[in-house]
């Protein structure tokens, strides 16, 4: 702990320099501790733009985390360093809000649902839920916090329910639109007038359910269990997609959700903040659509 005798209180404007290393560490509370420290060295943080700038950054060495404040006032560079064990950085991150999965029932019906996706019309701000169910493309709209059936149209029969799915909905970020996958072929949906679609020759690449949260810089990936359609499933937040995905010990509980039946399909909404999971409830036999989000809790 630094102890300084303040000769005079010099005003400084503190510029916090965020880096990848400091994300999740430079909380307001920690900044306050640092400001108290430099205050003991005679500096007072002010918002006055005329005051000399004190740049503060977090640097990490093999064993230490260093809060380094540097100032070039009067032409002579001066630095002030507060050292903390690097392990405290890890602890800080571990205790920082971690994303937790939450689910919310959006829709349920007796008829099988193959796929579902939420979508917000950027023009009208109306929120829709699109469903594929037994050869029908269905639209429901959110009105007064309730979903109301809007219309439906036929599309080619999807066949049996498989996790790969012969029919599935997904949001294409490159085309900025919801698209349909039929037997692995990408089909462009036309939702402006009467429902129609045009399938292209291109095959869809392996999709990942990439979900973002407000408490993490990098997105996480939703993954499902290994069971067949006779077993309840679990949705998990993983750190990487595909073959790289591994559920770490601290991710295995808080960041997973037990579902009431097999997860048949997951489609992420256009904002990447929510996903729609289609589940067959094994207790009731009803098909349900859940909104899955990663929220930041303690």
């Amino acid at each position: 702990m630094k102890v300084c005798v303040a000769a005079h209180r010099q005003p400084v404007k503190v510029a916090w320099q965020e880096s990848r290393q400091s994300l999740g560490y430079l909380s307001e509370a920690r900044k306050r501790v640092f400001l108290d420290q430099i205050s003991a060295c005679g500096m007072a943080a002010v918002e006055n733009s005329d005051a000399p700038i004190l740049t503060v950054t977090l640097q990490v060495t093999p064993s230490k985390a260093l809060l380094i404040a540097s100032s070039t006032d009067a032409g002579s560079p001066q630095i002030y360093v507060i050292e903390v064990p690097r392990i405290s950085l890890v602890v800080a991150r571990e205790t920082a809000p971690a994303p937790q999965l939450r689910r919310e029932l959006l829709w349920q019906q007796e008829k099988p649902i193959q796929s579902a996706i939420e979508w917000q019309d950027p023009a009208t701000q109306d929120r829709f839920l699109f469903l594929l169910s037994e050869g029908l493309f269905m639209r429901v709209r959110s009105e007064n916090s309730a979903w109301k059936w809007l219309d439906s149209a036929e599309f080619l029969p999807g066949g049996r329910h498989t996790r790969d799915g012969e029919g599935s909905l997904f949001y294409s970020h490159s085309k900025e639109r919801v698209e349909l996958v039929l037997r692995k072929k990408v089909c462009d949906l036309d939702l402006n007038s009467h429902f129609s679609y045009t399938c292209t020759a291109s095959e869809v690449a392996d999709r990942t359910a990439e979900l973002s949260s407000t408490c993490e810089e990098s997105p996480r990936y939703l993954a499902t269990g290994k069971g067949d359609f006779t077993q309840p499933d679990r949705i998990t937040l993983a750190s990487a997609a595909g073959a790289e995905a591994v559920v770490s010990p601290d991710e295995s509980y808080g960041s997973s959700l037990d579902m009431p039946g097999p997860v048949l399909d997951i489609s992420v909404a256009e904002n990447s903040k929510a996903a729609a999971a289609v589940v067959k409830n094994l207790s009731t036999g009803i098909y349900e659509v859940y909104r899955i989000t990663a929220v930041c809790g303690n």
Partner: protein, 541 residues
């Protein structure tokens, strides 16, 4: 302090968690025992005696990597910044950070069968510690008493040459590490013969001879290691292999681990070889001495500094396998190197040069630049320095004569005096204070007389570096990473980012499991051993 049991539990928990993989994700592959890791190194010889190592030398980098196979330190630093117990199970210090107390692990045996005790630790560390630090033993406890505060003693003891060894009969050194320098077995269980190991003492006693040079070193697994038997049966190290040949051997599957020079890294990547690079661990720079009057002129040193194009050196000469250096310690070690700026300004250099005597470092009196390290890279850098200097009207004559000692080398009497040296410095300590002290001592950089008693450690280090750099007695040029090429079958390669290889954690993905045969060293045998290795420090970066 975490116990070994808790670490083992953590390892088991981690393994359990690894089974929570989700579809369509494949299950993680569990480590397998067996096989021989074939290592090819460029250096012609190594020394496994820490007392002989020259701090900062390029040679010491290889020595440390091989020594960590047979020796251990009191503590280790993992990649999360946590100190882990090694041969010390517990430690504490007084409020002034001058008196440190280490509890020595019980039940540890050296490779010659003798038990480790606190006196062994004292005997090993005494010749290595600075004069300001006194070490003593009492029961199972070792005490290090320093005349000055050493808040970073753990960083110091977790790195560099601070290995624990026992001086065995005949001058050989015995260690407690996961491997033992010994004879290489061959198929059928017979020894390859005494030529397989350089040191005759090592062959007979299982301990490590002080100097090992020659074509091969074989490290066999230490089944009695307290930390658990390593996964590999052995490590076969071939020394003196030309770099290009080693890369071909890696491509052909004749080697599993090779060192790569900077110019070979892009080629290796193009050939789809696995390449790993450390943090920058070697500094190349210029240092001045009073052998030539021109070198004593601070204005001339400033002109030379402003003329240096470090970006071209790092990005072109070293093909982006290095970074321009503005500080003596690298950013990853000091944390403050970013505060120093690279001050290249050729126009300003020319302007300053015009104010200097025209005959200084010109005409028949060039500034002589001696290249201290051996190898083409150092010579190449020196020639680039001469080229840059010429653009600022400073005549630099490059004198290539490799010398072994990093700081104390003196030219032969017939050599003309050199006012500037190109040096290479390998960072070996995880303590920035210790590293800077070593560097200052090696190159006779004057210590500041005043001590800022109110500043924290890093503030003092920064101030000391700044004074030396502002005086331009030393001009950092580049910092270079170490790179290795890895075979596709090398698994759990989890080195420390500062360059330790951690080969005890490595295992080999071998083609076919066959009946266990401990004498078989070919890479076709996988042994099923009951005792897993506990979690090692530095694992899981």
């Amino acid at each position: 302090m975490r116990s070994i049991e808790s670490r083992l539990f953590a390892a088991i928990s981690l393994l359990s968690a690894a089974t929570l993989l989700t579809s369509p994700l494949p299950a993680a592959t569990h480590p397998r025992y067996g096989g021989t890791l074939r290592v090819e190194l460029h250096v012609p010889s190594v020394s496994l005696d820490p007392r002989e190592w020259q701090v900062g030398s390029l040679q010491s980098a290889v020595n440390e990597k091989l020594a960590e196979l047979v020796f251990e330190r009191l503590v280790a630093l993992d990649n999360y910044g946590r100190f882990q117990p090694a041969l010390a199970t517990d430690w504490s210090h007084d409020g002034s950070n001058k008196r440190w107390r280490f509890v020595i692990r019980v039940g540890v045996k050296f490779s010659d069968g003798s038990p480790l005790n606190a006196e062994d630790v004292v005997a090993a560390l005494q010749p290595l510690l600075p004069a300001t630090e006194q070490i003593s033993a009492s029961g199972g406890v070792v005490v290090i008493q320093s005349s000055t505060p050493v808040p970073d003693l753990l960083e110091q003891l977790a790195s560099g040459r601070y290995f624990i060894y026992r001086l065995a009969s005949g001058g050989a050194l015995a260690g407690t590490g996961p491997f033992v320098l010994g004879e290489a077995p061959v198929a059928g269980g017979k020894s390859e013969g005494k030529n397989s190991v350089a040191s005759p003492r090592a062959e007979t006693s299982g301990s490590t001879g002080p100097q090992s040079s020659g074509s091969h070193l074989f490290f066999r697994s230490n089944d009695e290691a307290w930390s658990g038997r390593p996964f590999l049966n052995g490590i076969d190290v071939t020394l003196g292999v030309p770099l290009v040949r080693a890369m071909f051997d890696l491509q052909l599957g004749k080697a599993d681990l090779i060192d790569l020079s900077p110019e070979l890294v892009p080629r290796a990547r193009q050939a789809n070889l696995r390449v790993w690079s450390s943090e920058p661990v070697t500094l190349y720079g210029l240092r001045f001495d009073g052998a030539q009057a021109a070198a004593s002129d601070v204005r001339l040193r400033e002109v030379l500094s402003l003329s240096l194009d470090r970006g071209t050196m790092a990005n072109v000469l070293l093909q982006k396998q290095a970074e321009p250096a503005a500080a003596l310690l690298p950013q990853w070690l000091s944390g403050y190197a970013f505060l120093f700026g690279v001050d290249t300004n050729l126009e300003r250099a020319k302007e300053l040069r015009r104010g200097l005597p025209a005959n200084e470092a010109a005409g028949s009196q060039p500034l002589r630049l001696r290249v201290d390290p051996a190898g083409d890279l150092a010579k190449l850098l020196a020639e680039r320095v001469a080229l840059n200097a010429r653009q600022a009207a400073i005549l630099v004559q490059v004198i290539s004569r490799p010398v072994m000692r990093p700081g104390g080398a003196s030219p032969a009497p017939s050599d003309p005096p050199s006012g500037v040296h190109l040096f290479a410095w390998h960072y070996s300590s995880l303590s920035p204070r210790s590293e800077l002290n070593s560097l200052f001592a090696a190159y006779n950089l004057t210590e500041p007389s005043e001590v800022n008693v109110t500043g924290t450690d890093h503030e003092q280090l920064y101030a000391r570096e700044r004074r030396v750099l502002e005086d331009r007695r030393v001009l950092p040029l580049i910092v270079q990473a170490e790179s290795v090429g890895l075979g596709a079958n090398v698994r759990d390669w989890m080195p420390a980012r500062w360059g330790e290889w951690h080969l005890a954690d490595v295992w080999l993905e071998l083609p076919e499991p066959v009946a266990a045969d401990s004498s078989n060293t070919g890479n076709s045998a996988i042994q099923a051993l009951p005792q897993p290795r506990p979690v090692a420090p530095g694992a899981k970066p």
